[in-house]
Subunit: 674 residues, 2 copies
């Protein structure tokens, strides 16, 4: 290595060298991460099509106002529909293509909210009538739930759907100011139809609580809002995010819909106004469960993107004292950098693998539900609630941590991570506020604990996956303190399960008088135990998915996930005395083991991120470019800044010159010579 | 309380009731927080002037593109200069006025970077020449330090300043691609002059490392960039933040400046090219110390704003199960909400009080430095480094936590917290990357520890404030475990000091083989011990600043700060066995004490936030409005969204209609009846 290279040339050399040193079989690992070579090829072909099409070259988007960006997103969506016909894409591929554009799209609400809820809960007749239109976007739907005054607590929604026996219709009303539907994605401008949550009011005046109804919002002739309805966009979102989605408000004034528009697969009103109950009180949670289960995969990909950008840039960025080569150190080699980035990388892998399992579980549950079998619902609800909290908390932290590892340049829009951070942020509060979901996770955990603890013959085989850790309740005392080598993943899993057990037991002991953060801590412990057990099965299954060498690299990465989780849980482990040897030494041993694994993984980091398969076009990051030419990319992107069109800025004559002239006048008055 | 109120009426009632219940003397507490009634009045009068002037009604800013916002900020700055003349404002008041606008301004760089460094390091002759111009903004300055390839490590900067003996000039050059100055606030468009960091090259070719030089960038005639110089804006920042600051790049091609432009108060080049050394190697750190010391106060105000918005909205937002009143609960009463918000409120108070102390300390140091007395520099450098890390880490966390407490509506731009988050974010990486500063804090701590531990006669009186905790090194073993009541602030201070001591000692023990996050943990422990000791003195001094009742309320708030800090440090305290009683009970007792204090503070929360004295104009938040009319404000703001100008969105004909028509065609083909 010569010191005579300019830093920007050295950067490309550093990247090449890192790639040469990595022993990761990128193609094999990529197929594994994508769930098979076919899936990877399918994905790559979508990216290839989009990246060559000028409609999707939207690097100027950052310089546009929101209404221009919104129109740009509509244009991309239309083009994706043309490409669907051209390439014979499935709807799943269309969804993927929309995701790949890197911008939010109101069409997504049709796919993830409107369509699933119609499929799951509309009567067969209603579905027969609308299925084709939904399938092909002959109508575009949204899901009208939250209101200006009401979010998580659906029972408090104020919108009403009153059955009018005389005409066989429902009348939809927004009876109060705060009942206005609010935050509804696609309702402001795009959607022609929606499924609306409204309190069902029977002819005798009884309020049956929230139910779902199909409703048409806009004319199919000219897209104008239908009579009795007021629609609009609720305005910009924080951090400029989600501007390409028209989160909207909707007000209903005596809007009549036909009786068959009630989604009546599980609850019905007879023509004469009698109500029949759904078989499972929480049947309508299916939609939320679906969205939450898809979130984990989306989060996995976001963390994957951020870790790719950060690991690449930190590989080529040199800063600090000079090493023996006469060059400053690559910052990836600083403990404070790799110790932040590699656990993030490990979470990307874990969430992607978890997300795949969840999708399969949801498909099974969905199939069961359609036959009226609700046995999986409670477990899936608890699991996806906990995972949604865990993953949405992790993603914002990890994205921001990765961004900070980029140093000062990370604050440039061109770094590409801030944009993802802004997109991921609302996850913490939508689809169930995380702090509300925590309570539901705890409720399920407490119920499971009490049932198992009071069982005459507790049988571990009866425990659901999310409460498997309870089997340790009756383990012998020697098992109660996890021992063994830190590097053995089973020790971490054992510790995290013991932690969950102790925390739930302690929570139950103080159930009438919990401290103020108890629910959050218990929820996290329970979910982390679940994920740890899953990670152990991922490790076990690795040899059937990967060639020899990668097994060990990915095993190290998943082990790092476990150890980093244990480290974050140290407070609880120490509180319940679950560590041996004695306190002072155990945390240090744990942290040194983490460091040891990180140092083993460090030369593989570029390979492990290359294995995600991102193109430069997808990452849209000057710092995360594949070949390491970050400085050139940053320079080039800066030249596109509209302020640079002129040397002297607009506003100089009017706003700067008078200030300078005043200053010179006053300075002269004070004795200055110019 | 009647249940017949509409939610929006109830919200205003709830706010009124909270205000009625609060026992806080808002005026007295406000004067205390602002550092005296005069300061409060001065501040309030600036706010009053600006809020009545239409130039500062910039609520439409969110709908503008960056170049429009940039011009808007220039317009505000010009108007502030007119107002300075009108009202006889000092420059400090002008700075405050700029801050009050809520937008970043490139003029700030003149005040916080250019002016102080010129004052501190220019020769008397040079200062005599430029002082008046600087004072009155007859020139506008920036501070050119970081480069495309170089940030924290100033020794690696590549820009050169070569002394040309023949002409008595320095020649400034950007010899490489990566030496281009980058990120320089105000250098892109606004500044006429700058102070530049460049390697001083002597006529004999010796490189004397980075030194400072005054340089003119733009013509005073027409503001055009001077020959040999290339200037431009580096493009948009992440999250759309800081768009009103022209962070710029600058390239120098054989630019000559007169010899007297070298800032030569402490280092000089004689006319014949000989170099004389500065008296203290770190003398040029003074500027950084200044910026860092002001950051703590700015951060205090940001956290104050966010906690005001969040506590107000959470007071009027009702959600969840119904209470005995028939209304849903005010969300501020949920443990998961108050346990997040009240510690944030406590940090606002602590940082504001800390910031005031720091400003005083900086003034003293600055005065000493001007006399060549550098004794305070090392301590101030260590202290402000640690505080900068602590406060800049806290502010982003606290702002985001406060935002999430707002639930779904918190993600609206109109909530007003996201905007502050974006503004505060770069603090973590600018003025010294936090992870680099951690190392400097640890270095100072280790040095102090070794000195004290190896002293023949260790005298606690020799310890600087930042290492006062070291006195515990020779305490008797019984003092080694802090006991007493949790509610007693001294127990927290004692614990946090013991923690710092144990962690530094442990770090030194393993100095040759630290784990990867050791420096971060030690830095935090040391700084938190310092702040804890300061907080204890704030508590002690309260009676001299506040009337009777407020002393107890503010004492509780500061105690909460201490207890929340202890809770965050539990891992360390448990690791080093510093807690009694035995582990399992101590954390619970601590958390129950926190909850107990929080419940005591809860009725005072509105009063304690009112005491910051923010007007609705300053907060610019629909959710944080003073009278609790959050829902109406949110509705009104949404009506300003440009997408709402038309019912049918621009782009319908071209981009939506074709998708719908295609879908209907395909649906019909599949058998659908329309």
């Amino acid at each position: 290595m010569k010191t005579s290279n300019t830093p920007e040339k050295q950067a490309r050399l550093d990247m090449q060298q890192a790639r040469d040193l990595s022993q990761v079989d990128v193609a094999a690992t990529r197929d594994f991460i994508h769930g098979g070579q076919d899936r990877w090829k399918e994905y790559a072909s979508i990216v290839s099509v989009l990246s060559k099409d000028p409609v999707f070259d939207t690097r100027d988007r950052v310089h546009l106002v929101r209404s221009e960006r919104y129109a740009q997103a509509l244009k991309m969506a239309r083009r994706i529909h043309e490409l669907q016909d051209e390439h014979g894409w499935t709807n799943a591929q269309v969804s993927k293509a929309i995701e790949v554009t890197g911008e939010s799209s109101s069409y997504t609400l049709h796919f993830i909210a409107f369509e699933p809820v119609m499929r799951a809960q509309a009567s067969e007749d209603l579905l027969a009538e609308y299925d084709g239109l939904i399938e092909h976007r002959g109508i575009i739907g949204c899901y009208l739930q939250t209101e200006l005054g009401h979010g998580s607590n659906v029972n408090a929604l104020e919108t009403t759907a009153t059955y009018v026996k005389e005409t066989g219709e429902f009348e939809i009303n927004s009876p109060t100011f705060t009942s206005r539907k609010w935050w509804i994605g696609a309702a402001g401008k795009l959607a022609t139809h929606g499924v609306i949550q409204a309190k069902l009011i029977l002819p005798d005046g009884r309020d049956m609580g929230p139910h779902l109804f199909l409703i048409q919002l806009r004319s199919m002739e000219d897209h104008r809002t239908l009579p009795g309805i007021t629609l609009g966009d609720i305005g910009p979102k924080a951090l400029g995010a989600w501007g390409t989605t028209d989160n909207g408000f909707a007000i209903f004034d005596n809007v009549r819909i036909p009786a068959r528009f009630m989604l009546s697969k599980f609850a019905q009103v007879t023509p004469d106004g009698h109500y029949t109950r759904p078989p499972h009180a929480k049947i309508s949670y299916g939609g939320m469960v679906y969205i939450r289960s898809t979130l984990v995969t989306s989060i996995g990909w976001w963390i994957a993107r951020a870790s790719t950008i950060a690991i690449r840039y930190c590989t080529v960025r040199r800063q600090g004292n000079k090493s023996s080569s006469g060059l400053e150190h690559q910052i990836i080699n600083y403990p404070a950098v790799y110790n932040r980035l590699l656990p993030i990388l490990s979470r990307a892998y874990v969430f992607l693998l978890l997300g795949r399992n969840l999708n399969e579980a949801f498909a099974t549950m969905s199939n069961n539900l359609s036959k009226g079998d609700t046995t999986m619902l409670a477990e899936m609800h608890a699991t996806t609630s906990g995972l949604k909290v865990l993953a949405s908390t992790a993603v914002t932290q990890d994205l921001e941590t990765a961004r900070r590892c980029l140093g000062g340049h990370g604050f440039s829009e061109f770094a590409g991570i801030g944009r993802m951070y802004a997109l991921s942020l609302p996850m913490a509060t939508y689809e169930g506020d995380n702090y509300v979901l925590d309570l539901q996770v705890v409720r399920a955990a407490v119920k499971a604990f009490k049932r198992y603890a009071s069982a005459a013959k507790p049988d571990p085989a009866t425990l659901s996956p999310s409460s498997r850790y309870l089997r340790l309740l009756y383990s012998t005392s020697r098992d109660d303190v996890a021992s063994g080598e830190w590097a053995d993943p089973h020790r971490s899993v054992n510790l995290l399960e013991l932690r969950a057990l102790h925390m739930v037991r302690d929570y139950v002991k103080n159930e009438t008088d919990p401290d103020a953060s108890a629910a959050q801590r218990v929820s996290r412990a329970v979910t982390e135990a679940f994920v740890a057990a899953q990670a152990a099965t991922f490790i076990q299954d690795l040899p059937s998915h990967l060639p020899g060498k990668e097994v060990y690299v990915v095993k190290d990465l998943l082990t790092l996930y476990l150890l980093a989780t244990v480290e974050r849980g140290l407070v609880d482990l120490l509180t319940f005395n679950l560590l041996s040897p004695r306190n002072e030494d155990a945390p240090r041993e744990l942290r040194k083991t983490i460091q040891h694994i990180e140092l083993k993984l460090l030369p593989q980091a570029i390979g492990l991120t290359d294995a995600f398969g991102f193109t430069d076009w997808e990452l849209n990051s000057a710092l995360g470019v594949y070949d390491g030419s970050a400085y050139e990319a940053l320079w080039e992107r800066a030249q596109t800044e509209p302020l640079n069109c002129t040397d002297v800025v607009t506003g100089y004559q009017e706003y700067i010159k008078p200030v300078l002239e005043r200053g010179r006048r006053l300075a002269v008055r004070g004795g200055a010579k110019l």
